[in-house]
Amino acid sequence: MWKMNTADVKQEIEETLWNYIRDNYLPRNAEAKLGGNENLFDNGILDSAGLIAFVVYLEKKFGMSIPDEDLLPENFSSLESITSYILRKKGSASM
């Protein structure tokens, strides 16, 4: 089986996250942009319920389990922090 390199995996995660946010939270026909380090709670995209829905989606999409104790600002505040969180989790799972 092919081993995807980290850059490809990272890009795949970023695309998945972006598509989810765009499809669920951004206006259809606007030129929507969102910085990777923008705080998703401060800009009104996620709230606590939105986070849980997102987490359930990510668990299914990436076949991973996200325990309660990981639901922290350092892991889930921005697209960048979520990407690194998933990379870390996937990395530790494959070892």
């Binding site: 929507a32 800009n43 009104g44 606590s48 319920a49 939105g50 986070l51 849980i52 639901l71 889930f76």
Partner: protein
């Protein structure tokens, strides 16, 4: 105890009315009309899942004066379970809070099979709905009487949202105004309703017996403090949307319960309420806050709220499974900037 139902999804032909509207005149069944009107007064919502052409059906509903009672009607050729799922999503109501009523046993069985959480009822029993115990709230609050209108305003909000370039701009345009105030005696029915009706946004930190709660609510609880939150925006008033029960000591505030109606999901209201409480604690020289949370299988949202606001779980777990979260108030968490406090 049977759970209180929140929404009835109606079939049309030979359920809401006698006859088939695509084939000729129909007559609204008096028992069905009575049920619709009476349950609406109690704050139970109505919707429609029916097979057929939408426009002529809406015309019949309009001429019979029933149209306004029904939220997000789904009249099309899609399978009913799919339509019921769509209604559940649009009204943000759990399937186990919904009833489906139809004269066609196949449809009833299909829904029972596909969506076992939904309660199914045969059309001929419509007149008895008003006596069903899961449609009899202990009390009918002001919020309940206006529940349908709250949902209509919500639909207008969703329409408005589509015209803004991003979500923050939309949220700011709503002019949300949140007011926290100490509970007064007249609030107790609504506070009790929030505590018992709310599942997703409820920390259920402690199960309060009704007597105990009434004692706290009546202001004789001493160190107890109950806050209610009222929300308005440019589309109208939401009424009382949340409540918090706090135990105050000299050194810390302990949040036993925080419940917020799921009608205000997705706009940061629960965060604004919690942040405001914590700011108030901070202003009172309190340096330590605790919050109780009990996992009910439905309220993980509140655990996320606490942790994203900086609370961390302590090791101590109560015997009944309640977890304690704590936060040092060196800097009080910020509320969302699109909500103005008054």
């Amino acid at each position: 105890m049977s759970q209180l139902k929140k929404c009835i999804v109606w079939d049309l032909d030979n359920t809401l009315w006698d006859g088939v509207y695509l084939e000729g005149d129909v007559t609204v069944r008096p028992g069905a009309r009575q049920a619709v009107e009476e349950l609406d007064r109690r704050g139970i919502l109505h919707s429609i899942a029916s097979r057929g052409e939408e426009k002529p059906a809406l015309d019949v509903l309009r001429t019979t004066g029933l149209l306004d009672f029904f939220l997000v009607p789904r009249i099309n050729w899609e399978p009913k379970p799919k339509n019921i799922l769509a209604i559940s999503a649009e009204l943000r109501l759990a399937l186990d809070s919904m009833i489906f009523i139809d004269d066609d046993l196949f449809e009833l069985e299909q829904v029972a099979y596909m969506l076992p959480e939904v309660m199914t009822i045969e059309a001929d029993l419509a007149p008895q709905l008003v006596d069903h115990r899961c449609l009899l709230p202990d009390r009918v609050t002001e919020e309940a009487r206006h529940r349908r209108h709250f949902y209509i305003a919500e639909e207008q909000r969703r329409q408005a949202e589509r015209t803004y370039p991003n979500r923050e701009a939309f949220l700011k345009s709503c002019s949300m105004n949140l007011r926290l105030r100490p509970m007064a005696a007249r609030d107790s029915p609504r506070v009790l309703e929030l505590i018992s009706r709310t599942h997703q946004l409820n920390t259920v930190g402690r199960v309060f017996a009704q007597d105990e709660l009434l004692e706290i609510l009546s202001g004789t609880g001493g160190r107890w403090f109950v806050t209610v939150a009222e929300l308005t925006d440019r589309f109208g008033s939401y009424g009382t949307v949340g409540t918090a029960i706090v135990e105050r000591t000299d050194s810390s505030w302990k949040l036993y319960l925080l419940a917020v109606t799921c009608r205000v999901l997705g706009r940061g209201v629960e965060r604004a309420i919690l942040a405001t409480l914590l700011q108030e604690a901070s202003r009172n020289g309190i340096s330590h806050a605790e919050a109780l949370y009990r996992d009910t299988g439905k309220n993980r949202t509140m655990l996320a709220l606490y942790q994203m606001m900086g609370f961390r779980k302590c090791d101590a777990l109560h015997e009944d499974g309640t977890a304690v979260f704590s936060l040092t108030l060196d800097r009080a968490p910020a509320k969302p900037n699109w909500i103005v406090m008054s």
